[in-house]
Amino acid sequence: MKPWLHGRRPGDRRVRVERPHAQFFRYAGPGTLVAREAASAPRTRTGRFLRDFRHVLLGRALSIHEEIEERLTKKKALAIFSSDAISSSAYATEEILRVLVLGGTAALFLSLPVAIAIAILLAVVSTSYRQIGYVYPNGGGAYAVARANFPTIFALIAAGSLLVDYIMTVAVSTTSAVEQVISAVPTWNDWRVEIGVVAVLLIMVGNLRGLRESGNIFALPTYLFVGSALLMIGIGLMKVLGGEGVPPPNPVPGQPDPLEPLGILLLLRAFAGGSVALTGVEAIANGVPAFKPPEPRNAATTLTAMAILLAVLFIGITFVADSFGIVPIDFPATRTVISQVAAVSFGENTVAFYLFQAFTALILFLAANTSYAAFPRLGAILAHDGYMPRVFSFRGDRLAFTSGIIVLSAVAITLIVLFQGDTHALIPLYSVGVFISFTISQAGMVKHWIREQGSKWRLKLGINGLGMILTGTVAIVVFLAKAPTSLLVAVIIPLLVLMMLFIHRQYEASARSLKVRDDIVIPPPRREERVIVPVPGITRAVVQAVNVGRSIAPDIRAVLISDEPEAAAKIRDRWEKQIPDVPLVIVESPYRALVGPLLAYLDVLTQQWPDDREEPITFVVIPEYVARSWWERILYNQSANRLRAALIGRPHTVVVNVPYRPEDVHDVDGAEVIPQTQPRPS
């Protein structure tokens, strides 16, 4: 009925036309509807409660049209993409000193040469990655480079290494951030694992809410850290020049000479530990599309700026630590090297000291957050290529790759708990994966230059070749020097590769079996159909199921599995009176089984089918009572569920559930009443 509306003049009447679809759909073109938010709204009370809870926790669902793609300026990109790399300066020096301290105080003076060697490596790697940015402006992650240049297996090794890298970035950055907090507030040492876990959970929730990395809030911690760290190094240098430093100790007899075999091993291990400073260098090359045009050039400039900043911070912190004889302290509570450098420069327990610790913790948490953009994105790419479960490519209410975010958090939390929040224990796992992906991407670039050549290709080939040799060597050194913990990576990455290959094979197989030739016209079905309705008796639900079965095919029969012959006979009498046109087969089941006899009955039907005719499709129509609440779900349909589970996958069989709702009464109401036979007078 259309509502009538009156206008200002007597004749000006109009009617409003109802648009029932408008609440749920919007017409977008011929034969195309766009679902509105209301169409996805849950219809049950529990569903609505869960939706509201999710909205409170994660925010309202976003439409795909609300996706924001913001291009970054160089200044902003430097802060956002470099937080991972720059923050590693907070623990790289410490990793060198933790090894060198084993060689005695005399070995500590080698920390600066080791840091300089790592800075040279950084220069080579960052120069190599500049070229990747130019060649792969759509984001040249190691996976993409390897996929373009090598057989799939290398791309998968790169992907596995990157996945490990991203997980370790979350775990290591978080534990390191917690250690900075503990260095400022030692009484929290007992809660380090709990603080780390809560931090990861908070970052996870933030990312599930669709946290955008492009906001200024993410740029701030990086610049605060860089500014305060440069100030700290400057003050430290002035103090060293003013003679406040600790003079280098004389070698103590009996301690290993750094140049002896044992000492060389120590040196290599120190180098391997410090090379963690390079983690995160690839982030800019991976994120080239996020830059403002000209993207590759801006990315290259930003990458150079980042490498210079990182080198200055790393060498500066190492120099000041070395000058003041600083070594890591673990007891009674953790005192990180960088916190001790801050204490020397700013003064112990000063406001500047606490601020610096806060900035360091902030940039480390931010570094952890960068993996939340990269890991789910790589997971989605792998899922798209068929190497990860497809669920990784689905985006949640807030347009975030929910599965990737949750898996990343779960694995990182597991690592934090397993390693008791100890950054030093986690780092061997970190560096190996990073250098494997570095090596593969550099090798991919070498192959690229040999194949494509172009202007100055020999120089470019040389740069990437040097990068490949250096990062490959470091990968081996790190792998050997950090054994046995690093051996875990040698197990995890091949396992990941095997898993991805297995998933791909499964998807390929299912795609092959589901493929429909595109050059044929699909004919209508030719096979015969028959209907089986398993029944427990005569109820409204059964009547409805039988009626649905009648609409599918005329060859229909009801099957009653019973362990009470007398009761079954009574049901047959009633059945023949009330539903005479549908035969009832009673299968007595003395062993009280339900599913087995029904399956056996279906098998017998199949065997009885003439060999010269194609086997029919058997529709098993199962009546079900619609459960209104959770306790009704326990009370009803248990047999139906068992039947359905047993029938799924049976060849030539289709399972049809016919739900019965109390309001579906029309199937029996108004039916003809059977005339009652009058008892004869005795």
Binding site: R8, R9, V15, V17, A22, F25, S63, H65
Partner: protein, 196 residues
């Protein structure tokens, strides 16, 4: 529509499945974006005397509903709140003004198409003059660009107003809105569909 003052709080967009619809919706959205105003897209199906006013005109209703839906699609891009209002009436102009009054609109935005035939002219029709004379609120007319007028690319939603408009008069060129066609291809049964 002075500076710093919202152009309107609620505007009625007059749509008819014609070439100016997307112009009207885009203009409405651009103005509404600034002030957070609400839009109501109105499509009036003119029912001739061979039908009852309340007859089910299925084909016309579907086509008109599609026009309103597509207007909502454009508004979604601009993140502007919009609702659709489908009416049947004997006279479009009167229904439009009456509906605008009923929903409390403080502006009506209409489109003025340009006809290329016979040397080219603006087809002002009867609706626009009626609305000018009877609407108790401001009336904005967005004219269809003439073939010689420069076309301006519009990139939703960060567009700036590219359509100079006149209050109570026609003015200015408009942007190219390729891919956002609101044209009603299935206009049916020779029913009148005067330019709003």
């Amino acid at each position: 529509m002075g500076e710093g003052k919202p152009a309107f709080k609620k505007a009625a967009l007059a749509l008819n499945g014609g070439p100016t619809d997307e112009l009207v919706v885009t203009l409405g959205c651009q103005l509404a974006m600034k002030s957070g105003a609400e839009l109501v897209a109105i499509h009036v199906i003119e029912v001739d005397w061979s039908h009852e006013l309340s007859d089910e005109l299925t084909e016309e209703n579907e086509a008109a509903s599609a026009v309103l839906d597509q207007a909502e699609g454009i508004a979604e891009h601009f993140k502007v709140k919009i609702s659709g209002d489908l009416l049947q009436a004997r006279e479009v102009a009167a229904a439009l003004v009456d509906e605008a009054i009923e929903i409390g609109a403080d502006a009506i935005i209409l489109g003025l198409p340009y006809r290329k035939r016979f040397g080219g002219d603006f087809a002002i029709g009867g609706t626009i003059p009626y609305v000018f004379q009877n609407a108790p609120c401001q009336v904005v007319v967005a004219r269809e660009p003439m073939p010689s007028a420069p076309r301006v690319e519009m990139v939703p939603p960060a567009v700036k107003i590219a359509t100079p408009v006149g209050t109570g008069s026609s003015a200015g060129p408009s942007g190219g809105l390729s891919g956002w066609s609101l044209r009603n291809r299935s206009r049916g049964n020779g029913r009148k569909n005067e330019e709003h």
